[in-house]
């Protein structure tokens, strides 16, 4: 199974090591709104979870994304 970091790195074309808790959408060039949707759709598929439209909108950083996924996995 791919980790969240691996998925982000692949889709945003960045190194996994670059991804920190505070890595944020508005500070990362390749994390544009379209890639954000790509990320969401791949994460949903990989972990067999669903985000609400509000969660997609409000998730701004790696840390937030990770804890959201973890809360849904349970």
């Amino acid at each position: 199974m791919e980790t969240i970091k691996e998925i982000i790195a692949r889709i945003l074309s960045i190194e996994e090591a670059e991804i920190k808790d505070q890595t944020a959408r508005d500070k990362t060039e390749s994390w544009d709104s379209f890639n954000h949707l790509l990320l969401v759709s791949e994460i949903e598929k990989e972990f067999n979870i669903k985000f609400t439209i509000k969660e997609v909108e409000e998730t701004k950083t790696f840390k937030e994304l990770e804890s959201l996924v973890n809360s849904k996995k349970r």
Binding site: I7, R10, I11, S13, S33, F34, L37, L38, S41, E42, K45, F51, T52, I53, V56, E57
Partner: protein
């Protein structure tokens, strides 16, 4: 270019975007080999982001280098009508034109019944003319072929279950437009209406888009479905750049039939109207339909030619005949050498061949040695063979030849015969019109497994529901004390195969009907009377006095309950679930129903 896409099985949508970037980089460096080239313009009424990226990758995989022009969100009208537009100077070879139903209907989507029926009709007529104007302008300004999406028919209606009680309903509007578009461009060699509505149905209209993606980004088709969509476009693109293929090369064992003819023998291979045989039977039927539309067939197989020739000549369910094959390489040489001989014999390029073989080793070998050949990944499960071959679009062509048209006429007359059948109301007349032929055959090696299977599976028209294994049937058939007969039902619409069985225990005075059954497929056609007539006829011949029938009641065999009563038998005893009936053979005059044609083997 193939290095970029080879080896990467892009299943995740994100991979397509990365591959697309790599392809564009290679293009800019001039590093792409010269293959087929195509300029594709994509016009859409919504954010079609992803279509270009995925199509670029899929084209690349098919050996096509494509340049793209993607129209701005909902700017297609300006692009088409402005003579100085980028679209016109791009001069595409292919235009993909995708307007979605929501954009088409606008406010009407939620409140169609605020309009009068007549106004809805006018609206649809105007929309059709508008689309026609767009397409005609495109045709004049470019030399492109045009793929126009038809419209997804909504599964929702503000009227719910009353939707189809309207004079001109909401869903009907979209259906009407689809119908009109199809009619309008039927004869065109340049404009192709892509049946997007069917495409949506195939995926499931409830699943084509995640609603949040639609609200967040105006995505009308889920990103994960883009590969499927683009592969549908490829069905048009491949023949456009002459990447279509002409010849289907087939393996035999476990491909055209189940099992290995050299080991299992003529009677052992699986082919025919049984659960294990039917996938192969239908696979052959589908291959024959490809032949009938002009696909050339060939065989490349490791077998003894004599064995194969016996299957062709003697197997009752071999749909494909020797005369259908343009080349047959049946020998123990390697398949690669055989492939080259086949191409030479038929006089076509290796890149015109499609190869089907159940063995992965053979497939890999051919793939590696002759990469021009399209090798189909046949799944292990034979029940998926037909579906797999149906998904191969490489035999599609963009034009219809005169010959094809002739064939169309033949199908049309077949359709007329079926209409007559629908219109027949009188039962006897209907049964007579079927031209049914019943073939009786005493059990022999080729039919034993089917007979056993019918005893195992038949529940409804089964008088005793006794289950027998193949070995049991074999034992009966070798004994002089049993008559085992199977019947095959054919009519002018096709062959139902072996669908009835009787097992009769014989003695000099009295014959006992141990098993008497018909498959549910042929119930209601008085075939049971013919089977009884066959038994009585044989009993008379051997001067037997009485015929005894048994009926064992089960929860499922009510349809057979009154069979003996209705056919002149008298009740002898009733013991629990078992009833015994008898009839005097001498006195009974029992013959075949006159509307059935009878053959005895």
């Amino acid at each position: 270019m193939e290095e970029i896409t080879s080896g990467v099985e892009a299943k995740r949508i994100g991979d397509y975007f990365n591959l697309d970037k790599e392809i564009e980089n290679a293009k800019n460096k001039g590093g792409l080999p010269v293959g087929k080239k195509l300029k594709i313009a994509i016009l859409s009424s919504f954010t079609a982001r992803g279509v270009k990226e995925v199509l670029n990758v899929e084209c690349c995989r098919a050996g096509i280098t494509s340049d793209f022009y993607v129209c701005e969100y909902n700017q297609y009208a300006q692009d088409i009508f402005n003579p100085d537009s980028v679209l016109c100077s791009f001069n595409p070879d292919l235009v993909i034109f995708f307007i979605d139903t929501m954009s088409l209907l606008g406010e009407i989507f939620f409140s169609p019944y605020q309009m009068l029926d007549e106004d809805r009709r006018i609206f649809i007529k105007e929309k059709k003319n508008e689309i026609k104007t767009f397409i005609e302008a495109l045709s004049k300004k470019t030399s492109a072929k045009i793929i126009f999406h038809n419209f997804e028919v909504p599964i929702y209606s503000p009227l719910g279950i009353l939707e189809n009680k309207q004079d001109f309903g909401f869903q009907e509007m979209v259906e009407q437009l689809n119908f009109d578009l199809r009619e309008e461009f039927k004869a065109s060699g340049r404009v192709f209406i892509f049946d997007y509505n069917s495409f949506c149905s195939k995926i499931g209209k409830n699943r084509i888009v995640d609603p949040k993606m639609y609200y967040l980004a105006d995505i009308k088709l889920g990103l994960e479905h883009l590969p499927d969509l683009c592969l549908s476009y490829l069905s048009y693109i491949k023949p456009m750049v002459s990447l279509g293929r002409k010849c289907l090369v087939l393996d035999l064992d476990n491909t055209l039939w189940g099992g290995i003819i050299g080991e299992d023998g003529l009677e052992g291979i699986k082919l025919g109207p049984t659960p294990e045989g039917r996938p192969f039977l239908e696979f052959q039927k589908y291959i024959l339909s490809l032949f009938n539309k002009g696909v050339i067939l060939a065989i490349n197989s490791k077998n003894n030619p004599e064995d194969v020739s016996e299957v062709f000549r003697r197997h009752p369910y071999m749909i494909l005949k020797e005369e259908h094959f343009a080349a047959m390489q049946i020998n123990w040489d390697d398949k690669i050498a055989n492939m080259k001989i086949i191409a030479k014999q038929i006089d076509i390029g290796l890149d015109s061949l499609v190869f089907i073989d159940d063995s992965e080793i053979n497939r890999e070998m051919v793939k590696r040695a002759i990469p021009q050949i399209l090798v189909i990944n046949l799944p292990d499960d034979s029940s998926l063979y037909v579906k797999t071959l149906m998904a191969v679009d490489d035999f599609d062509t963009l034009q219809i030849t005169e010959e094809d048209k002739q064939r169309g006429k033949i199908y049309a007359s077949q359709r007329k015969r079926q209409e007559i059948r629908k219109n027949t109301t009188d039962l006897a007349e209907y049964l007579r019109s079927l031209d049914t032929l019943i073939t009786f055959e005493k059990a022999k090696n080729l039919t034993i497994s089917r007979i056993s299977q019918l005893t195992q599976k038949t529940n409804q028209f089964n008088l005793t529901t006794r289950r027998y294994f193949e070995e049991d049937i074999k034992k009966f058939s070798e004994s002089d004390n049993y008559l085992i007969v199977s019947l095959k039902v054919e009519d002018k619409y096709g062959d139902n195969g072996i669908t009835g069985v009787a097992i009769v225990e014989k003695s000099s005075e009295i014959w006992r009907v141990d098993t008497f059954l018909l498959s549910c497929r042929i119930i209601g056609r008085e075939v049971e009377k013919a089977l009884l007539a066959f038994i009585i006829k044989n009993a008379k011949k051997e001067e037997v006095k009485k015929l005894r029938g048994e009926f064992i009641s089960t929860s499922k065999n009510a349809p057979a309950k009154n069979f003996y009563r209705n056919n002149g038998f008298k009740s002898v005893t009733k013991d629990g679930f078992m009833e015994i009936w008898e009839v005097d053979i001498k006195n009974i005059d029992y013959s075949y129903p006159d509307f059935l044609n009878i053959k005895e083997l």
